[in-house]
């Protein structure tokens, strides 16, 4: 089981859309995937039409494996489940360590329901909190959408500083350019400069600014279901390929 997170300390950068579309791409490639909605403002549950579970409000939720299992909902797509948590959890680090420990009751409970998940995608809240720290530790890769503007550049620097100050492995970070408008000189110049500065840290694929991503709210479905062959659809597929490479997953599995 591999864990990746989608994170940004700045809002409105396309983070939730990225989580949703990456999870969808992973599932379509045959990986049993669980997307966890950890963003109180996030809409990943909304995109999958899953109603937030009222039973999950209690903070002690993560101590109770059975509740966790029961909260998982199958999406309308093969291989893709949703944990519509929709809130912050103080005990999330406990949850994550249990997810990684094959002897834990949580892990056994998951296996009892079905085969293990191949991939867990965490859609995180947009701030640096105790929760995001435990996510940074648990996840193998942290996908960070970056709009190529000066402001976003500063936010990325803050995140890198945070990693440095807390002794976290910066190589886990996988930033990519999001909402790119290639007609804007600022965008192209910023991208060029950042790629030069950070070398191979950035993923190859850049996500164009696209009305199709906005339309996810209308369709309430991943872009791949209604615009797979359009630029945004292709870019998410490319982004998933980049991540597969970085995770060392073989194509298709």
């Amino acid at each position: 089981m591999r864990i990746i997170a989608c994170y940004s300390n700045k809002g409105g950068v396309g983070k939730t859309a990225t989580s949703v579309n990456l999870a969808y791409a992973a599932a379509a490639a045959g990986l049993k995937t669980l997307i966890c909605d950890l963003d109180p403002q996030g809409a990943s549950s909304f995109y999958f039409r899953v109603k937030p579970s009222k039973k999950l409000v209690e903070d002690k939720f993560f101590k109770d494996e059975q509740k966790f299992i029961k909260a998982i909902r199958g999406s309308d797509f093969d291989n893709l489940d949703v944990l519509p948590a929709n809130m912050t959890f103080r005990d999330f680090d406990i949850f994550l360590s249990r997810m990684k420990n094959s002897q834990s009751r949580l892990k056994k409970a998951l296996k009892a329901v079905d085969n293990d998940y191949d991939l867990i995608v965490l859609d995180c809240s947009p701030n640096i909190s105790a929760l995001s720290e435990s996510v940074f530790k648990a996840a193998e890769l942290i996908v960070v959408p970056v709009i190529p503007t000066t402001l976003s550049e500063r936010t990325l620097e803050q995140l890198l500083d945070f990693f440095k100050d807390h002794g976290l492995d910066r190589r886990k970070l996988a930033p990519f350019f999001s909402m790119v408008q290639s007609s804007k000189k600022l965008h192209t110049e910023t991208m060029e400069r950042l790629r030069a500065e950070y070398g191979k840290l950035f993923l190859d694929t850049a996500l164009p600014f696209s009305a199709d991503v906005e339309k996810m709210g209308v369709h309430r479905a991943p872009v791949g279901t209604f615009a797979a062959t359009r630029p945004a659809g292709k870019a998410y597929a490319g982004l998933w390929q980049d991540l597969q490479d970085r995770l060392g997953l073989k194509a298709g599995k």
Binding site: K32, G74, D76
Partner: protein, 508 residues
């Protein structure tokens, strides 16, 4: 979450999604793809290995659909380069069928029309809770309709799934069916196939009856393989055909005294003559099946010669196959086989010998015990200096012992027989490989001798074959070196006591 969790039901008759209604409690029932009709082909191997695994494999609309026990439904594109599982494109159906005998091709069990309809239970957010798909198979011909129902739950919506399931129960007429009854309902003419048929023995029959029962059963097996051999679906048809005829021939030669000497001689000739015209085809099949192994044995620099040799084999095989097919289709052959069947059926025409009326059980014990003693006598004299001829003789006696034990197996406790056959098989595998390597060297040498031309291709082939023979010779020596220890394993005290108890001391 995935189709892996779905449940499958088989219903007699036609059921469609419309019958489900448009509401399920608070949920709406959508019927998105109702009323599509397409042709379908039901696929299985000749021995119905797919059905025996509890599965159903159909091809429709360019897709292969494999429904497995426990409700698993796997789908992939039907496009393929041939009808063996290895010819399929990589995908979930190919993965699931990887346990099938690789030498068996998939054949058409039957065809017909497929009507598929589906219902999706959704909530007020338009979120799917559960799905059901009805696939009604309408067979061409005299069979009856069947509806395959696959119910797909989504995690976290168990109640909706149960509600959908009971709605299906409500609208379905008649009881559920089992996969094993599916072919019989759809295509009643379909016959099952078992290369090792049960020959019912009670122990009360005479040796003559036992012999004719076995011969009759295996003649039927041989005949079942004629069409597939003619059509050349896969190499297993001819193989099973020959094994069945060889078993009949073994009964004739091993069951001494059951038939008169003249009858025994006549039948031996008849069955040898039946088998002989197919021998070359089987040899070529074996070479071609071993193709990859041969390529693996030699370095790439010597592959050109192999490529040329196998091209020759393939060409010859095509020609020989046509001859065999022509022969099996001929009126003369049909008359001969029909006459033999009639002879075995009535068994009146067969002339009995002095042992014909002995009780089968006593007769079996005597034959097996004698053969076992013979095997032991030869084997115990073998050491590393014994000539190869003696090892070949041991192999032949082991084979005869094995046949006798298998023919008469129904007269003895199954577990006891199995326990004795197992160590015998280990010894036989060893001796079999020893023999195969020896035969392969000889036939490669024959092939070489037959084309001792001076053309460049012949020189290339000669180089490769020379190298191959050297490797096969080394392997033969390795197998030879194992014979003494293989026999020691078979000759354990436990096995000795078991043979004596079962075949010597039970003889009264």
């Amino acid at each position: 979450m995935t189709s892996d969790n779905s449940d499958i039901m088989i219903l007699a008759g036609a059921v469609t999604a419309e019958a489900m209604g448009d509401r399920l409690g608070k949920l709406v029932l959508d019927t998105p793809e109702a009323g599509e009709t397409a042709g379908f082909v039901l696929l299985d191997t000749f021995d119905q290995a797919v059905r025996k695994a509890g599965s159903v494999l159909i091809e429709t609309g360019g897709q292969l659909q494999l429904m497995q026990p426990g409700g698993v439904v796997r789908t992939q594109a039907a496009k393929r380069s041939g009808n063996f599982v290895a010819d399929f494109a990589d995908g979930p159906v190919k993965d699931a069928l990887s346990g099938l005998e690789p030498l068996r091709s998939l054949l058409v069990v039957g065809r017909g029309e497929l009507r598929q309809s589906a219902a999706v239970a959704k909530d007020d957010e338009d979120k799917t809770h559960a799905r059901v798909r009805f696939s009604t198979l309408v067979p061409d011909g005299a069979g009856k309709k069947v509806t395959l129902v696959s119910l797909q739950p989504l995690r976290g919506y168990e109640k909706s799934f149960e509600a959908l399931g009971s709605r299906v129960q409500d609208v379905s007429k008649g009881p559920e069916m089992e996969v094993r009854d599916l072919y019989a309902r759809l295509f009643p003419d379909t016959l099952d196939y078992d290369p090792k048929p049960d020959v019912g023995m009670t122990g009360g029959e005479t040796a003559f009856q036992a012999a004719t029962d076995i011969m009759r059963a295996y003649l039927a097996v041989a005949r079942r393989n004629e069409d597939g051999t003619i059509a050349d679906h896969d190499t297993e048809f001819l193989h099973d055909y020959r094994v069945a005829l060889r078993k009949i021939r073994s009964v004739i030669s091993l069951f001494r005294g059951v038939f008169s000497d003249a009858e025994t001689a006549r039948l031996k000739t008849v069955f040898s003559d039946l088998m002989a015209p197919t021998g070359r085809l089987r040899d070529l099949d074996v070479y071609l099946l071993e193709k990859d192994t041969y390529f693996d044995l030699l370095p790439e620099t010597l592959h050109d010669g192999l490529t040329a040799m196998f091209a020759q084999f393939a060409k010859e095989r095509n020609a020989v196959q046509k001859q065999v097919a022509r022969r099996l289709r001929s009126a003369t052959y049909a008359r001969q086989m029909a006459a033999l069947q009639a002879e075995f059926d009535g068994a009146t025409g067969l002339e009995p010998g002095p042992a014909a009326d002995r009780l089968a059980h006593d007769y079996a014990c005597e034959l097996i015990w004698k053969r076992y003693r013979k095997v032991c006598k030869i084997a115990r004299a073998i050491d590393d200096t014994t000539p190869d001829e003696d090892v070949h003789e041991l192999r032949i006696h082991c084979k005869k012992l094995r046949y006798l034990m298998e023919f008469f197996a129904p007269l003895f406790p199954a577990a006891d027989i199995k326990a004795l056959i197992k160590p015998l098989k280990v010894l036989q595998d060893n001796l079999g490989l020893f023999n195969d390597y020896s035969v392969q060297q000889a036939s490669l040498q024959d092939f070489l001798d037959s084309r001792s031309g001076v053309r460049k291709q012949d020189v290339t082939i000669a180089k490769s074959i020379g190298a191959l023979i050297a490797i096969l010779h080394r392997r033969q020596l390795e197998e030879r070196a194992r014979v003494v220890s293989s026999f020691a394993h078979f000759d354990s005290e436990d096995v000795q006591l078991a043979f004596r108890a079962m075949f010597k001391e039970s003889e009264v």
